[in-house]
């Protein structure tokens, strides 16, 4: 049953005429200010999601709860974040599911950590690491705002150090030098489980794939994804947008194998 909006909720206010969006936490007595007028939080509370609220100057705004994509894009950014086009592919290759335990290195601003926490649910766990304390603090604030603090365990760690977790179901690396963290990630992964990483340059890609193969990963695949917005206008017609994000990074995935023992009678 759908809950009406309440104090303490984050609300996405959508300026109906222009489509601009604002993420606002509802608090008693507070007001939201924009150049299209002021909205009292008290007037939003009690409304169902999808309602129209009007600013004091009569301009319509729609009130929604943020979806996971809004959560990711609205984090306070200290770093580049993983884009939704890539994020969807990554969580599929990571086989993320409710209850899973996932390792992440390179917390960054926490946007992808939030997605992982969203998908593993309250019974799952995200173990995330970053070497920069100030970034981690920002990320943890973003994660807490999304309501997922209790699904995330964060730690400061330099690439190459062992991860203090074992038998994780999946590992994701978002680092400048992912190959430095691959052996430790391999050690922490349960047998057979997937590791996925993202890197921006061809040189980093090559070094990462080489290290994956040497460390004991198989079924290694690399792709890049391009997302192009399409403009659908009833009068002017349908056409792709003139601008797009041309590139974010190469995506690589593989699965942890165990060392093979050639059988005594194989004669190979």
């Amino acid at each position: 049953m759908a809950q009406p909006l309440n104090y303490g909720d984050d609300v996405l206010l959508v300026e109906e005429e222009k489509g601009r969006t604002f993420l606002v936490r509802l608090e008693p007595g507070k007001e939201f200010h924009s150049h299209r007028g002021t909205i009292a939080h008290d007037g939003v509370v009690g409304q169902p999601e999808g309602s129209t609220v009007f600013s004091h100057s009569g301009r319509p705004f729609l009130a929604f709860r943020p979806l996971i994509g809004d959560r990711m894009f609205k984090v306070k950014r200290r770093t580049q974040i993983v884009y939704p086009k890539d994020a969807g592919w990554i969580v599929l290759t990571l086989d993320v599911r409710p209850g899973a335990r996932v390792l992440e290195m390179g917390t960054g601003s926490g946007a992808f950590t939030i997605l992982l926490a969203h998908l593993v649910g309250p019974a799952g766990r995200v173990h995330t690491f970053d070497r920069r304390e100030e970034f981690l603090q920002n990320a943890l604030a973003n994660i807490a705002r999304a309501g997922y603090a209790d699904r995330v365990e964060a730690g400061i760690l330099t690439a190459g150090e062992p991860f203090p977790v074992n038998d994780v179901d999946a590992a994701f690396l978002d680092l400048p030098s992912p190959w430095e963290a691959i052996p430790a990630a391999h050690a922490s992964l349960a047998p057979g489980r997937p590791l996925t990483l993202i890197v921006p340059t061809a040189e980093q890609l090559k070094e990462s794939v080489r290290t994956l193969a040497e460390t004991g990963f198989v079924l290694i695949e690399t792709v890049e994804l391009m997302e192009r917005p399409i403009l659908v206008r009833q009068r002017e017609g349908v056409r792709p947008s003139e601008r797009m994000t041309a590139f974010t990074g190469y995506l690589v995935t593989g699965r942890k194998r165990l060392p093979a023992t050639v059988p005594a009678d194989a004669g190979v």
Copy 2:
């Protein structure tokens, strides 16, 4: 703690030299046959995931449990399936999470239904509909094989008929004429919640977007995704593949709004 492979498990056998993969259910006394030799199921049982097993002719195969992507791609197909590049984007826009109740129209071969069931977990529910009984039977067999029969409720229904579910958290349409099902999907969605659809032609896209707007959806966005494989060879070098899937469909998402009531004192 990682479980060794057991009878009743589906196992992905990976021919190590060529990378070909086979999905096999382990049964006592059975054998897997390929042109690289025979493998007794009994010899696979008890091994941890990621182990190497050898065929009678000494060829190595790796044994993995299938990931969700393998599950989707290995369904018995009666229809075109949703590709992983699109599937990841769709589940993000649908805000899928553990415990969610999701509506799907156009079950097809059930590949995307399996992904939804995977992500909503045992506490969630996928309500899926198709108008073709023979396709639905095939899809249900695929879903059962993936182990998700108890998370899925399927029904036969023609686009335009009301869906026998209410207040669902998300709706996905994969139909030739999605606009016929949009009003019914709107009626079944909880306020504020997302609907996503996929269509192959510009004409279908335009009609879908028009119907979404008229029915009461906002924040409507359309994209297309292109996935290009990258070849990473340590000696020959890094380069994109010469072949790719150039197009699958246009992806459209929007959120259900409620009808606006202009306040008496707004003077608009």
Copy 3:
């Protein structure tokens, strides 16, 4: 034999440090001013192409003659111009060659007219038409600056009117409603010769292709071209640019057929 730069030449001055380029016509006693200093035209004259000249403040600039791509991009624009990625494809499908007579409708800013004039050479002719006199005046000034005034004949004409030329070797249409001009272009083309057009929306594309087929064109093909800049940095590595032009238009080409006469004895 390479000629040194001379008065009356257009020169591309390239700010060496930032790569910004300026198109300047060399005149006695004149100066070029930029925020990196002043350059006397007299000091550029007499230098070979590719020379470095220094501003009064000691900043290096390279002096080149503009190539055809520079000519196209540096026109004074009153309209969207045809991009090089598309222009190259178009001139190939038009089979442009020295001495050819080419029809163009939609002169726009004249950028593509300049390319056609460049390729047909002094023995060829470009017949270009636009319905807007003020655009045509601007285009003719651009064409004259490129030195191709005597290869181009321009006229004011509304789409649908007959073109006052016959037996042309190729026709190019760059109009909002190219289908209006297709029958007249067909009438002006020599038998068997190609027509190419560019349109931005799916609806315009469909109408154009329908009209081409009905008017008597065959071998009709449609493509879109995407050009992505690649960043090649020796230290940071190789990667695609994050931004690109995602779309300019759909390109359509076809060839004029003659009406078929079924032979009396064919029995078809």
Copy 4:
């Protein structure tokens, strides 16, 4: 004035129902055979381009002269050829025009040589080199068939050797190791003129760009082009093709600079 088809002409026969094309040289008394019937060359001679001719079994074929794109694609191939999408971009960056003298290294099957010869016209010259005599013989046969033998001078040469030409207007390199030929191409180019090359891997690209910069090229730019076919069906609708060529090569262009002499009074 359009010439009717004659003996000695190459003719593109287009099977009207399926769109398959065949390149045929018209000779007295000869016949063209396909699974849709036989066509006597004598019955094609005298027809204008774009005419319909019927096979003995009554099937319609259209008769066209080949355009430059048909010429390129119909060469007898011993190697990968430059694709039209890339070829158009390359000739623009090379500033090819009637009368130009162009250097090419890597003749391959001669497809791009034919395009260059087509565009430089009878007053121009293409100097093309390959290290493999058997490929060069095949290319020269292709060039002769296209009617451009007298515009092309070919030689056997290994990358790194000096080219026996000077002051050329443009240079194009299509080699596995283009960097080996860059210094010699620089020496043969007139000051300020462009060099363009194509390479398939990121590593080759990086080495090429490094060598270009060190050898004295500026305004270096790299792109890749993607061409996607679009299906335009009046009933089924408009949509991109499901398959495309995902990658051919990276395209790099630059211009030859002269060594800078810092002026005595510059104080830099």
